[in-house]
């Protein structure tokens, strides 16, 4: 079982050790010069060979996949980009014509900004530095709601929803006003909130709101409302290694099993022999409960596989879950291309003028 070839899960170099009181071997060591007589320089072919991306679960709102064979710095870059730099469209400016409700304009405007919209961001442009609104970078929504008394409600009625008309301003009250070419661009999927039932504020008879909203494209690092994900996170694969030198005593097998998450440890019904269920290993919460019992000392090692990432991404609705990760890669490559271009300019400048003499 415990083969130690470089591609095996049991290669100790891939392990982060989870001890009772501390975590060890956190940093990766696959750099040139770290291990004598070993070549760890960048090699695309080797990387392709080791890389494994496997989609494991997809729903209408989220996606789970494994990414094996990359460094944490790469996985973390994608996670950060998903949260902060993949663009979406949100309400940014609110023009209040009339608001006689009890909610202050600013508070209402803030609530409007948070509404997730179903707009595909690829169909819109980012506003440039001039801030000029055009039909390619701005969507206009309107809300015009007046609360009135329901004359036909029963005398002893207490429910405001029956007593009044439009006692609540809902996200479904947002009406999109197409401009220019927008009607053709958004044909078949008119811009609207992803959830029609968000209560934005409550009204009583005689109160009215009449506002215009401008939605623009933006990124999460500017304001969290632009983040396309509810969460984007990864875990590192838990690994439980039993010590063949010191097996778990049969009369303690059930207790040992209960130290781990359900399904992680199998106990043979006949021999009471303990084994790890490799397929369920990812379910382990790494509670370290097993370390609390002195009778299990030395029986087991808790570890994590440093380059085995279990991603979980939940979409907020602007992108389908499957599309989110490729979008983050796209943003990453744009960033790289930008820096590369600037570095190239710097390189040709320093060579051209001779200000900075290049070596090599």
């Amino acid at each position: 079982m415990a083969s130690t070839s470089a591609h095996s899960l049991y290669d100790p170099r891939r392990h982060v050790r989870v001890d009772p009181e501390r975590v060890r071997d956190v940093s990766s060591t696959d750099f040139p010069g770290y291990w004598p007589d070993e070549d760890h320089s960048w090699n695309l072919e080797k990387f392709k060979e080791r890389l494994r991306v496997t989609v494991t679960r997809v729903s209408n709102r989220s996606i789970e996949f494994d990414m094996v064979g990359v460094d944490a710095s790469i996985a973390n870059a994608f996670r950060r980009i998903l949260i902060a730099e993949v663009p979406t469209v949100c309400i940014e400016n609110v023009y209040v014509h009339d608001n006689t409700s009890v909610m202050v304009d600013e508070v209402f405007a803030h609530r409007l900004g948070m509404i997730p919209l179903n707009v595909d961001p690829a169909l819109m442009e980012m506003r440039d530095s001039t801030g000029q609104a055009t039909d390619r970078n701005t969507l206009v929504f309107r809300v015009n709601v007046t609360c009135t008394r329901n004359k036909s409600s029963p005398k002893d009625e207490t429910d405001p929803a029956v007593l009044y008309h439009d006692a609540e301003v809902l996200s479904s009250h947002l009406k999109w006003e197409p401009a220019g070419e927008q009607e053709a661009v958004f044909e078949g999927k008119p811009p609207a909130p992803t959830n029609p039932d968000i209560v934005l504020m409550k009204l009583r008879p005689g109160q009215e709101v009449d506002i215009e909203m401008h939605a623009v494209k933006g990124v999460g690092k500017d304001h969290a409302k632009f983040s396309p994900v509810a969460t984007a996170s990864y875990r590192i694969l838990p690994l439980i290694v039993l010590n063949p030198e010191k097996p778990v005593p049969p009369h303690l097998a059930a207790k040992f099993q209960k130290c781990f998450s359900p399904g992680v440890i199998d106990v043979d019904p006949q021999t009471q022999e303990v084994s790890v269920n490799e397929g369920n290993m990812r379910k382990e919460t790494m509670s370290r409960e097993v370390h609390r019992h002195p009778e299990f000392k030395g029986c087991v090692e808790l570890k994590r596989v440093r380059d085995y990432f279990l991603f979980n991404i939940e979409s907020e609705g602007a992108y389908t879950p499957e599309r989110l990760f490729p979008e983050s890669i796209k943003v990453m490559r744009e960033k790289i291309a930008n820096i590369r271009k600037a570095a190239q300019v710097l390189s040709s400048e320093s060579q051209g003028t001779g200000d900075v003499e290049m070596g090599g």
Binding site: F31, T54, R61, I74, N195, R340, A343
Partner: protein, 111 residues
């Protein structure tokens, strides 16, 4: 506003042959900083590479590169950027292939 801030600037104190230099990359953060640092460190001709985000209110990172054999750190930087781009496209391909070919659980999530 004053003149536009350059995307990359070489901070003063760099070796004249650029064998050791600190680059200030504007409008970038840990996202690129750590990934780029990792890729530069994968180059055996690099003696040292490190990055920092000097201050949270300043929108730039510093990347320090020192080379062996008086080689140019700028060349190493460009090479690392190319490699990083290859890495991204490889991951993109692997993901697309998995999404198309692999059998995975499809379930319905209530919202």
């Amino acid at each position: 506003m004053a003149e536009p801030i350059p995307k990359i600037r070489i901070l003063k104190g760099a070796a004249p042959d650029l064998s050791a230099a600190t680059y200030q990359i504007h409008n970038e953060s840990h996202t690129i900083g750590n990934a780029l640092r990792w890729m530069i460190m994968k180059n055996p001709k690099v003696e040292f590479c490190g990055y920092s985000l000097p201050h949270p209110s300043e929108n730039h990172i510093h990347v320090r590169i020192q080379m062996y054999d008086n080689l140019s750190s700028l060349d190493a930087l460009i090479e690392a950027l190319d490699n990083l781009d290859d890495l991204c496209s490889t991951i993109d391909d692997a993901y697309t292939v998995s999404l198309r070919r692999d059998k995975y659980e499809v379930w319905d999530e209530k919202s």
